[in-house]
Every structure is written in C-alpha cells, then in structure tokens.
Amino acid sequence: MFWGVPMGQSILDISTLELHFFTEKGVIKAIDGVDLKVGEGEIVGLVGESGCGKSVTSLAVMGLIPTPPGKIVGGSIRFSGQEITHWTNKQMRKIRGKDISMIFQEPMTSLNPLFTIGDQLVEAIRVHKKCSKKEAQSLSLAILEKVGIKRVGILKQYPHQLSGGMRQRVMIAMAMVLEPRLLIADEPTTALDVTIQAQILDLMRSLNREFGTSILLITHDLGVVAEMCDRIVVMYAGQVVEEADGRKLFKNPSHPYTQGLLKSIPKLDENQKRLYSIPGQVPHPLNMPQGCRFAPRCEYVMETCWNKKPDLYEIEQEHLSRCWLHQGKEAIENGKGDADTT
C-alpha cells in the first residue's frame, strides 16, 4: 500500500527498517519495523517513550550507527529517491552535513570545547564547499544572525562562553548553513528551559519556511509535536505503532498506546488528582513479547495479540495503526495485517 505524501515527493522514505545490535548478551532488536516518510518541506514529529528507538532511527539515516555492534538487517532508507541503506561511510560523508543535517539533545556537550565557534562553523562549511576561510567566516556570521545571534567577536568565542540556548542556536546554525534538504532534530529542546524551548521551536519553524527544509522532529513531548508538526509518527519498542496528521491523531487516537500517551499529558484546565501514566514498563529489548509488543501493558489485549504480530493498517485515509482492534476477523485469522504494508 502506498499513499501520497501531503506536500509533494518524499525527501526521506524509511520502510520496514530493521536494525539490530549484536551484543555479548544477545541480539537487541532496537528497530523492528519502522515506516516513516518525510515530504518536501514537511515537518514530521517522531514521538515515543525513552528507549523506543527514536535516536537509533535518526542515526541510521545519518549512517552514524556504531558498527559493530549495530547493523541494518532489513528494510530500506531512501533519501531523495536514492537508496542509501548500504552506502559506505565515504559516500555518506558527502551528504552528511550538506544534504542531511542533525542537531542533538545536549547543546552543552555537542560542541567541541577546545575549538572556537568560528572554527567549528567554518569547518562545517569547508568540508563540503570550496571557499576561502574569509568567505566561510562571513557565511557563518550571516547564518548566526539568522538564528538570532548577533554578538561582537562570536566567531572567536569558545562554547563555554555561551549559554545553553545560545549553543543550541549555534548547533542549528551549523546544521542549516549549507541549506540542507532535511534537518533531523533529536530532542533539540529537552535540555532547555521553557521560554528558550519556545524560541528554538519558533526558529526551526521559520527556517523551515524560509529554506523549505524538511524537518524530522524527535521528541517525547506531545505538546511540542502538536504545535509544530504536519504529521506525527508514534513509536513503541522499536516499531511505528501509529501515524496520522496532527489533528487526526489528537482528535481520534486509535492505537491504545497513543491513547495512553495523550491521557498522560498534564492538562491545566482540568482538576486532575493524579497524573495518568501507562501501567507497566517498556519490555526489555532482549525479551520482546512474541505478538504485539504492547500486549503486556494494553487494556484491550486479546488472545490474538499475544502470539500474532500486528502490521500497520490503514484505518482511515492517511491514518495508520498497528493494532488488531482495527482489523477484520479475516486478517486476524490469517495472522497478518494488510499484506501490502510489509
């Protein structure tokens, strides 16, 4: 089954990706069925609890999974129509930082403490672009101004002289300076306080508009996703469990896990006695349930759920869910969901 991406062609197309870590204790199936598309100019949110595989998914796109122990064992990653799953490090280097950029969760530690901001920006430019140091410096100043840093001598300063919010702006500047087609932001605001968070999100949105850069925004904060994203992908234990546009997902969450996530958002207007949280724990990566991975925590769990793996199923237009609840008897008996999704 294939369905059109809202805004034109997809820049990133991950399908049924499987990625395992071969460790001494056993095989960790960190990614086991991730389908994800990011359209041209689109902002897609990837949400899920800690450890569900969000960072591993994004590092796989960048080709930055430590190998060994990690290895892609199935599925594909296409960037701008090209299959990049088995590209060598040398090939990946050509698009890293130029066509796909990434910013990370920890602005305090993501910049090298021993080099100046200018050095690190100029380096990012000159790996990909033939230009003089002077040109790279003026390019750096221009992009820094765009991300809201106008400060005398900034290029000569070291990371420790900047605040966390400033550093994240520098990271964004570094990621955006070559106007990449895709920006992956792995929890870019988690480490920052609320007002700075809003500023950084605003900044990303305006860069998205100005440069047309697609953004894959990773977070565990549904509030952030609701504001920013055209489409939302929910992950649980290494799989995508639901995908829909933001409005649909919030109005009509279909997967029991998504429902739980939405219920656990604190609401200011209601007089909640206790904050809701999904009962139970994320399954241990070495000991995944046979059937539906959410079964041990699901309040709607059925017989089938325990021994048959559900597939992603289109429950309404442009709304996918990985749950037996929404699939006909026939599908359940065949032990497979919509065959075309695999």
Binding site: R93, R96, S101, F104, S110, N112, P113, L114, F115, E123
Partner: protein, 336 residues
Amino acid sequence: MLAYTVRRLFMLIPVLVGMSIITFGIVHMIPGDPAQTIAGEKATPQRVEEIRKELGLDEPLYIQYGSYAKGLLQGDLGKSMTTKRPIGEEIGPFLAATAELVFAAMFIAVFFGVNLGILSSWRQNSWFDYSAMMIALIGVSIPVFWLGLMEQWLFAQTLDWLPSNGRLDPRIQMEPITYFYVIDTILYGDTEVLWDAVKHLILPAVALATVPMAIIARITRSSMLEVMRSDYIRTARAKGLSEFWVVYKHTLKNASIPVLTVIGLQLGTLLGGAVLTETIFSWPGVGRYLYTAIGERDYTVVQSGILIVATIFVIINLIVDLIYAWIDPRIQYGKK
C-alpha cells in the same frame, strides 16, 4: 594567554623564595655546631673558626639568608667546600648529562606511549589492544633498578649489543661543548662517535622510560576511548568530516589533556628514577654529583644542588601548565 602566563610567572616568586629558605635551612639543620660538623671531628679549632667565617655562620640568621639570597639573584650558587670551585660551573656538565638522559627517556615514553595508546583505542578489544595493555600493565609494575640490571645482563653481558656503563667509550677523547653528548657529536660532525653516544644512552633511557611509557599508554587509550564516545565527536561526524580529521583534530586534542597532566606528574618520577638509573649505569649526572657531595659532607653543594633540581622541577611543571592552558581555553577563564 599572555596575561595568564604573566600571572603564573608571578606566582612562581613565592615558590622560589620558599625553596631558597628551605635549602638555606639545610645547613642550619645540621645538629650541633654546623661548622664543627662540616670541618670534621679531627679539625683544629682554627679550622672550625675559618669555616664559620667562610660560611658566614657567625652572622645573625637574617643577614646570612640575605647574602645567600643576594648571591642567588646574581647567579652565584656559592663554592664547593671540597674543590673550592664555583658550584654553578661545576654542576653544569652533570646537569647536562642528567638532562640528556631524562629528555631521551621522556621522548621514548611519550612517543611510544601515546602511539601505543592511540592504536589500542583505535583497535579496541583486538589482540593488539590486549597485548599492548598487558605489556603496559607489566611495565607499570617493574622496578627501575631491576629492569636496569636485567637490561645490562641481557643486552650488554649476554648479547654484547650495547655498552652497559658511562656516556662514551673511554678510549674516545672529546672536548665537550654543550655537554649534551648527542648534540656535541653532531656539532663535531662525527657520526661514529654520535652512534657511540646514542648506544650508551639507549639502555639507561629505556630503563627510565618504561614506567612512564606504560602509564602514558594506558591513559592515552582510555582517554581516547572516552572522548570518542562524546557528543561533540558525534557532531563532528555528523558534519561529514573524514575519520582521520575526527581522530586527529577533534579527538586527539581533547584526549591530550589528561595525558599531559600525567606526563607532568611522571616528570617527577623520572627525576627520582634518574638518580637510581645513574647509579646503575654509572651515568655522570646530578644524582651522582649530589651523592658524592653527601658522602664528602659538602653541604654547600648539597644545598645548591637541591635548589637547582627543585627549580627545574617547578619550571617544567609551569611549562606543562602553560601548554595545558594553551590547549584548553577553559583553564584561563577559570577561577584560578
């Protein structure tokens, strides 16, 4: 950087004054009458008085220290009591011998230690890594004198590859220029004698270098591994930098900070080890010079010798600190 250097140089002043007071005190810590002790039991009373005058021991303490300090500021380290020659002149060749030995050892320790550490971290958990770290572990625990004796037995006595004693073949006559024999032989352009000097240097330098080399290798490895896991290395890769740049620009510079600290600390061990090594290999260095002076109760030599060695130690540590601040900009802005 300049301001930091100047500040650190100023901080050196109280340290140097303190050291001069302590070394000055050495003569006065001799129990009983120092003049009598120095002169020896059988000395005539006139001789004792002479020595007392000579050393200025009949003056009040602060005047004594004053003239001692004034001498030091003018570069006058006093005269040896046994040879009557200025200590500054006398100690020079011995200092050069020790410095040559310590430099050679330091070079071996840093060069092999750092590279072993990098290779081990690069090939983490390979057989190379395991055997290198095994050797390093053994290296750390070998006593210098034992290693020195084993080297002499194996490479000098049994295999007869290398000389076991001294700095040069005794049949060779050379008028030293800098007293660094390796440099002198190069200045004279005599490769044969240069080779002889190097051969004499190898065994003691290796004995002295082993422990620091092992420690430097282990620290380099663990420090490289730690930096490799850090977020900014991931950022560097995400920019599309090549692996070579990631390792040699971003990783090595960060990893070198703890390595440098260890090198600074090892210099102390090295100076201490040098005395032992000089004794085993009959190396005419400061250790030997002071050892002889102590035997002859030449207190002025002991006093100045210790002051010189301590000053060198302090200056080397200052240099290490300055390199440290030069690499890591956070230090200059720190609380210090």
